[in-house]
Symmetry: C2
Subunit: 348 residues, 2 copies
């Protein structure tokens, strides 16, 4: 199922959305819930983040089939303060729970200028940037994060006790040119270390440690060990912060309490997310914001490139360019992913 074919089919956004919705309905979700999940995953595919797009139908589908994820969760939202909501995802699909959290946070932020949702009882969140994009389109600046299965050792430690938790920020820009930052705390993804191993190359000693927590340049040892966070103790601190907000304060699982969906696909993970949104309209006019965001990007673009042909970019530009291209020409999809979607859709 994971094999890539040589021909990479292209499919229009509306068609992919529709196919995805039928696939998730085939997995037992309601039409409305399937629409939420697929909106997030299609945005990921549009941004070119295909590992976090509709390809997730495979692992989500497996866990829905096994009962590890609840097909029709009764998501509960409680407004605990004028600008603060808590969300119990009732073990629903991550992007479904996430969309409920995002909408709830947008609602209170609209009313109070800033608002937050703390979400528990969820599963794999998907990437951050689709949520940040949706918020930015509605005029909100955002800080959004989720915790994740433990794969990283504490700084100076020697076993996996925290997740490579993603953290994202977005600020609305001119004509959809939003600032979109979406990052995990490891220096590189495991895939990059796997590629080095395949190529028979050593790796910088900043990428990972061996299984005893010691720095290594051997990709094999690093794959048996742990990813290293960016900036050493700084990335470690940021990863903890995300888990504190997304997990601990949300009353979700945190650190080693988070169950692995690989090792225990049939059990709830109780992952947590958080959404902090600021209504930029309360800080100044749309024209004021757009003018400043344009100027901000222009200043950065104006720095002469250190390497010929590699101009400075602002975070989000690559994803938004991918989106523009794929909205025009269709979204590049793996044939295997389309086959999975069609198979699940056939069950409706």
């Amino acid at each position: 199922m994971n094999a890539r074919t040589d021909t990479r089919p292209r499919i229009a956004e509306s068609e992919l959305q529709s196919l995805g919705e039928r696939a998730f309905r085939g997995l037992g979700l309601t039409a409305a819930d399937a629409s939420d999940v697929v909106r997030v995953l299609v945005l990921a595919d549009l941004f070119g983040l295909s590992t976090h797009g509709l390809s997730r139908i495979e692992s989500y589908g497996e866990r829905l089939d096994l009962g590890g994820i609840t097909k029709t969760p009764s998501i509960r939202i409680e407004r605990v303060a004028p600008a603060l909501v808590t969300v119990d995802g009732a073990n629903g699909v991550g992007p479904l729970v996430g969309m409920h959290g995002l909408r709830a946070a947008m609602e209170v932020a609209k009313e109070c200028g800033i608002g937050a949702a703390f979400v528990r009882g969820s599963n794999h969140f998907g990437p951050i940037s689709p949520y940040g994009y949706i918020a930015a389109e509605a005029g909100f600046a955002s800080m959004i994060g989720s915790n994740a299965t433990t794969t990283i050792a504490p700084w100076g430690g020697s076993d996996a006790r925290l997740g490579n938790s993603p953290l994202g920020f977005a600020v609305p820009g001119a004509d959809g040119a939003h600032f979109l930052l979406d990052m995990a705390m490891s220096v590189v993804a495991r895939a990059k270390i796997r590629n080095a191993l395949k190529a028979g190359e050593s790796i910088p000693d900043t990428w990972g440690t061996d299984k005893d927590g010691r720095k290594t340049t051997d990709p094999k040892a690093a794959l048996d060990g742990f990813l290293l966070p960016i900036g050493g103790h700084k990335g470690y601190g940021l990863a903890l912060l995300v888990d504190l907000f997304a997990g601990l304060l949300s009353n979700a699982a945190y650190l080693t309490h988070v169950k692995s969906w690989v090792d225990a696909p049939d059990e709830p993970q109780n992952l947590g997310h958080f959404f902090t949104l600021i209504d930029t309209a309360r800080l100044g006019s749309r024209a004021w914001l757009i003018e400043r965001m344009r100027d901000f990007a222009a200043i950065l673009h104006g720095s002469p490139a250190a390497e010929e042909g590699k101009p400075v970019i602002v975070p989000g530009e690559i994803e938004l360019r991918n989106m523009a291209r794929q909205r025009e020409h269709g979204i590049d999809m793996d044939a295997s992913v389309l086959a999975m979607l069609q198979q699940r859709a056939g069950q409706v």
Copy 2:
């Protein structure tokens, strides 16, 4: 004035607070304003962050003398939405403006569950952790940041266009054992590169670039060039985010619009800060939070040390240990800093 003496005097917290207040009154601040400024700087000294503590009397004093910082600013606070305030610092001393922003954000956060202050018209902020500590003592989790003079090149660029902006997070812990993260986005501080140069050592090529934006292992070239951010494009993105929130959204200066206090000490910098505070009491009981924070720290401490004798620590533990020790035995101060304080205090 910068020379360190061999004997490092110790002074009790209350005595240092009182001396500091007299010194800032000597510089023309009101008693109430001096108290705010000194509270932040003494906390920095208590945490062991002496480069960001009362030693700042030197640069703050120079700018106050020159009229670059306003001695008696009329700070204006506007509540633009139920949970959102904007603060115009009117070019006051940074920690004074910062304390106004912090208090205003705590007030709306208490009422609405989450609250934020966006601050403009300010100057050098001081370190983040004192503000995070004060908020944590009052039960607030926080995300706080400030922009700064431009010293970093955009990722892939070749001239200084963004600041090494500090970002901090805090979460209240049991018995004052708060999680305190306070970081700038560079891999190392310039001082560490200066030390390598003095020692005649080369530096890792991840610390800085030469003046053309190219990676270098030569400390001299790096000092003529730019600091590199943690995680490459990730730290670059985070530094931009801080400037977007602290500068752009606050209606303060941002990127190259920020004036250097070294090059133009007599001009207002219009720096910006932001404070986002969450009232943890709305998310669960104090006992619930303390139990979870204890467990969180215990899980991290439980990871066997990768290096004998270097146990895993949770961010904030070093600073809080320094504080406990110095509250008991007195605060270690440079004699030259005490002399400056006494000289300024003599002018009252």
